[in-house]
């Protein structure tokens, strides 16, 4: 599983070599709402709620402990 996912990551990064834009073409990407994590407090709140209520956590950022979560 680990190996498969690492291979997928490498393919993704190699395949991305032909993609992209020049810096001056990024007006839309530069908008705040286009940040990968545009609302950090909202994300923190959601991750805490779902960590407490579901058996899955993390993925986008670290999903470790930090909560007894009854």
């Amino acid at each position: 599983m680990l190996r498969l996912m690492m291979v997928a990551l490498v393919f993704f990064s190699v395949g991305c070599a032909g993609l992209g834009t020049q810096a001056w073409e990024r007006q839309d990407l530069a908008k705040r709402e286009m940040l990968i994590i545009s609302e950090p407090l909202e994300m923190e709140a959601d991750e805490h709620i779902y960590f407490s209520k579901e058996a899955s956590s993390g993925g986008q950022s670290f999903g470790g402990g930090g909560c007894g979560c009854n």
Partner: protein, 426 residues
């Protein structure tokens, strides 16, 4: 005009770099280097189950050359009742509180809830990020949380590398957490029976620990002028005490009736989970600027060695009504399969298994979140937003080794989430 254009290009370059490094400071306001996010959150479940009021702040200070210090603090106040794992019966049930100093009675036909749940939690983190060399950056951080019966300490670090004219970012991160339980009334011996008032002979005063190691590898890629994608693989290994010391299972005979246990109670046994858990997850996100707004689409697949597999799909679209106002609908769908050792009850006619838990969070269920957010940007650059969401869990669990029973005993959940946020710069 030429000057403005130059400034604008510089701002765009700076922000694009920052976005690839996931630094959330906009570049159009460079003279104000502190960005402060604050929010108040209400989370409430139906039937007087858990209620949480939470105040959170995140403060980021930007320095020269892209260095940034970020710290956050959250204070939660939790009250209400939470499912114990016991199933509802057609007769009254008496339970001893975790402190062993009292009892509570659950009426016939009612889901047993421990109504003594009350806790406050303070959590915080500090993180420093800095570029180094050509196109490299690192971050290092520390996190903690403290509540009545649980403490957490953690460290984390990451490195990232820009490639392809800053269109590609490769990153690798590491986190280590050391948590400690100090449960009310002590730590129950695994699978021992719930005892009567004053009897704590099946509990120890140890403070069991839990350690978590997380690794995260990611690629962020600019696809074109209006699209950016992220793909992460993460690995998480938890060790030592992974039980919930307050959860137990009802012991039923083959006709679905309870059997007698110690202290005049029915027989309930505390849960026991494996003492290690390894999770793998793959997370993909696509952000697209379309129709004048940002569409945020993500998917996560998670699998672990407890037998749990889950899929999470999340969509948000920020529709800009005008320069100042936006509305953002949100839909999230989650589905998980149960852990190998999940069972709603134990059977009196079968040997006690080595591992068992009736914690509904380890069961088969799906969950849907539907919400909407409204935001308003003020002329000075600050922003206020409010969101309301409904979260619903719908699961299915059949009694274990009870003949003729087809009842669904999964404790479905309905919750409302409200968050009011304010962001400003100084």
């Amino acid at each position: 005009m030429q000057l403005n254009k130059k400034k604008s290009i510089a701002a765009v370059i700076a922000t694009a770099t920052a976005s690839l490094m996931s630094q959330a400071i906009a570049a159009d306001n460079n003279d104000k280097r502190w960005e402060i996010d604050t929010s108040v959150l209400y989370y409430g479940e139906q039937d007087d189950r858990i209620e949480d009021v939470s105040f959170a702040t995140r403060i980021a200070r930007e320095f020269e050359d892209g260095r940034q210090l970020t710290f956050g603090l959250t204070v939660d106040s939790l009250t209400g009742a939470t499912p114990t794992g016991a199933v509802e019966l057609n007769q009254p049930q008496t339970f001893t509180r975790p402190s062993a100093r009292g009892q509570y009675v659950t009426a016939p036909g009612t889901l047993p809830l421990d109504d003594s749940f009350k806790d406050s939690r303070t959590a915080g983190y500090v993180s420093w990020s800095q570029p180094f060399g050509d196109n490299w950056a690192y971050s290092a951080g520390f996190s903690f949380s403290t509540e009545y019966d649980y403490q957490h300490l953690g460290v984390n670090g990451s490195v990232s590398r820009e490639l392809n004219n800053n269109n590609t970012t490769l990153s690798a991160g590491f986190a280590y957490a050391q948590d400690e339980w100090d449960p009310e009334g002590g730590v129950p011996n695994p699978l021992s029976e719930l005892a009567g008032v004053g009897n704590q002979s099946n509990k120890s005063n140890a403070n069991p620990e839990k350690t978590v190691v997380d690794l995260l590898f990611g690629v962020t890629q600019v696809i074109n002028e209006r699209m950016i994608a992220q793909l992460n693989y993460s690995y998480s290994k938890s060790d030592d005490y992974l039980n919930d010391p307050y959860k137990f299972l009802t012991v039923l005979d083959t006709s679905g009736q309870p059997v007698s246990g110690p202290g005049g109670l029915f027989s309930y046994r505390f849960e026991n989970r494996p003492d290690e858990r390894t999770k793998h997850s793959l997370f993909a996100k696509l952000k697209t600027f379309i129709g004048g707004g940002a569409l945020d689409t993500s998917y996560r697949y998670l699998t672990d060695d407890w037998g749990i597999n889950s899929h999470t799909l999340d969509f948000r679209y920020r529709f800009n009504l005008n320069e100042q106002n936006y509305v953002e609908p949100h839909i999230r769908y989650y589905v998980q399969g149960q852990a190998d050792f999940y069972m709603p009850n134990l059977s009196a006619s079968l040997p006690i298994p080595v591992e068992a838990s009736a914690d509904y969070r380890l069961g088969d269920f799906n969950a849907t979140t539907i919400g909407v957010k409204f935001g308003h940007k003020f002329d000075g650059g600050s922003e206020i937003s409010a969101r309301i969401e409904w979260y619903q869990q719908d699961g299915e669990a059949k009694l274990h080794s009870v003949s003729g029973s087809n009842a669904d005993v999964f404790p479905d959940l309905d919750a409302v989430i409200f968050q009011l946020s304010y962001r400003f710069r100084i």
